[in-house]
Amino acid sequence: MSEARVPPANLDYQEARRWSRFLKRFLRSRNVMAGAVVLGAVIIMVLLAAQISPYEPTQQFRRHRLQAPNAEFLLGTDNLGRDILTRILYGGRVSLQVGIVSVAIGATLGTLLGLIAGYIGGWTDVLIMRFIDMMLAFPGILLALVIIAVLGRNLQNVMIAVGLSSIPVYTRVVRGSTLSVKQFDFIVAAGALGASSGRIMARHILPNVLAPIIVVATNGVAGAIISGAALSFLGLGQQPPDPEWGLMLNEGRDYIRAAAWVTTYPGLAIMITVLSINLLGDGLRDILDPRLKL
């Protein structure tokens, strides 16, 4: 009965309480915090690359080729005498950018298709889902490779390719959640009050399917970083001499016997970044999982 006396204007208050509950669980989870701290450090270092890196990313020290890590070159140099630490810092910008932009592309388009398929239903749903099935027939990185083959190889196309190939995950998740949300009375009420389909999807359904989207998108950034670096590794993304983690791994491959650090450190950079994002994503899933709370 006490709830009944809470004035309706208190929506903000409830919202704030939900946030504080979220924050509390967020701060209490050791994994999430570890992931957030490491990822935060990576982002700060990469953003400050120009300020904190000792050299220029394409600067060649011809007398210092393939030097093991030392005081002058903290992580050593590559076959052209370029500082590995500097290249990792600058290369990280590219990798993180690929991760974020591709997820933005995939999540936006995928969510849109999922909302439409789930809410409109009928033939629209069938058509969209058959299209998604078709995309799923190209497993893993294959779809991205096909798109690169069509569009041509460069970094921008890598982001488009990785983004487009992640559409199916979002569409499936959002469609599923939409199907269950649209049964609720407030959606039916909004429709009865004359709200348009677009408005209902944007204002009423989307906020209620955001949690799974956030979870999938977080882990999606990790996956996009891996795929983006894979494409550059294969020579289809970032082109030399500019640095990128996957490209650096590939460039160091030939020297793995004599100078393992050329490959080890960029690989470590990818793994640490991906690991921290995955920790964060797993934690967010545990907190936001709609089956547990919401």
């Binding site: 058959r130 497993p139 294969l234 590939n250």
Partner: protein, 307 residues
């Protein structure tokens, strides 16, 4: 059963149709005239271009071109490579065994590691063993295949010198690439097996089995595992897809002349017929594997009867 089977097959028809259309359109979606793409860097006079267009049948309406492409494909003719002029199908079939060998070995390694780690974690729920197993699984998931490949080469070929770094043929050249390819899948498999087992362990029939007084070993083997591993079968099928696309990278690193390595080469060389043919082949193979997995799934789990 037959009804379920028919439904499942029917569901595949539009997918296969759309896949073939998409692959067919690939050549037409690339910027520029397909005939120019075909001629590549060679100086092309208008006459030559026109002749190529005529030869390729590009002057015909699109749907006629599609039908003739599919008609040829059904007879096993995927055209000729732009680079080598060798029939695309011949190159695919030459290289297929190496990729299948790699994917099969990787799948077995992933299943072995993933299932055992998952079982150990579930049976020791909330102990150090569980935490450790899940930490390992997370590291596995976060390791890109190119990174684990290079690490394995560094450790076993460069440092310990016990296994060859590159090449194909013989089990000793298969171990490293297959393990590298398996690690990511092993990680996610371990997580799935664990959560699936935990779910089953909480069911009433497990309680009943325990109450009857049979040994914990038997409870786990007869009642828990049999039920917990059913969903894992589906996952293994999906993983084969990851293996096929992961082979693109492992084969490149380990210099194995499989389909994946050829694929990357073709994309780099703009060998469009090769890319087109290989894409179609892999996609259809993957669709086929998924059907088989679904059918197997329905067989081993009699509760599944949806259409």
């Amino acid at each position: 059963m037959s009804k379920y089977l028919a439904g499942r097959l029917l569901q595949t028809v539009p997918t296969v149709f759309l896949v073939t259309v998409a692959v067919f359109l690939m050549l037409h979606l690339t910027p520029g005239d397909p005939a120019e793409v075909f001629l590549g860097d060679k100086r092309s006079s208008p006459e030559l271009l026109e002749k190529v267009r005529e030869d390729m049948g590009l002057n015909r309406p699109l749907h006629v071109q599609y039908l003739s492409y599919m008609g040829n494909a059904l007879r096993g003719d995927l055209g000729r490579s732009l680079q080598t002029n060798v029939p695309v199908m011949e190159q695919i079939l030459n290289r297929l065994p190496w990729t299948i060998e790699l994917a099969a070995a990787a799948l077995m390694i992933a299943a072995f590691i993933g299932i055992s780690v998952g079982i150990i974690a579930a049976l020791n729920h909330n102990t150090i063993a569980d935490t450790l197993a899940m930490a390992l699984a997370l590291v596995g998931i976060s390791m890109p295949v190119y990174w684990s490949s290079l690490l394995l080469i560094l450790l076993f070929a460069v440092q310990l010198r016990v296994l060859p770094a590159i090449g194909q043929g013989g089990i000793e050249r298969l171990i490293l690439p297959a393990t590298a390819l398996a690690l990511v899948s092993a990680g996610s498999l371990a997580r799935m097996v664990r959560s699936s087992m935990l779910e089953v362990l909480n069911q009433d029939f497990v309680l009943t089995a325990r109450a009857k007084g049979i040994s914990e070993r038997l409870v786990v083997i007869r009642h828990v595992l049999r039920n917990a591993l059913i969903p894992v079968v589906t996952i293994l099928g999906l993983m084969l897809g990851n293996m096929l696309s992961g082979a693109v990278i492992t084969e490149t690193i380990f210099a194995r002349l499989g389909i994946g390595q050829k694929y990357v080469e073709a994309v780099l060389q703009k060998d469009f017929t090769m890319v087109q043919g290989t894409t179609l082949f892999i996609a259809l193979m993957y669709v086929f594997v998924n059907i088989v997995v679904d059918i197997v799934y329905a067989f081993i789990d009699p509760r599944i009867r949806y259409v």
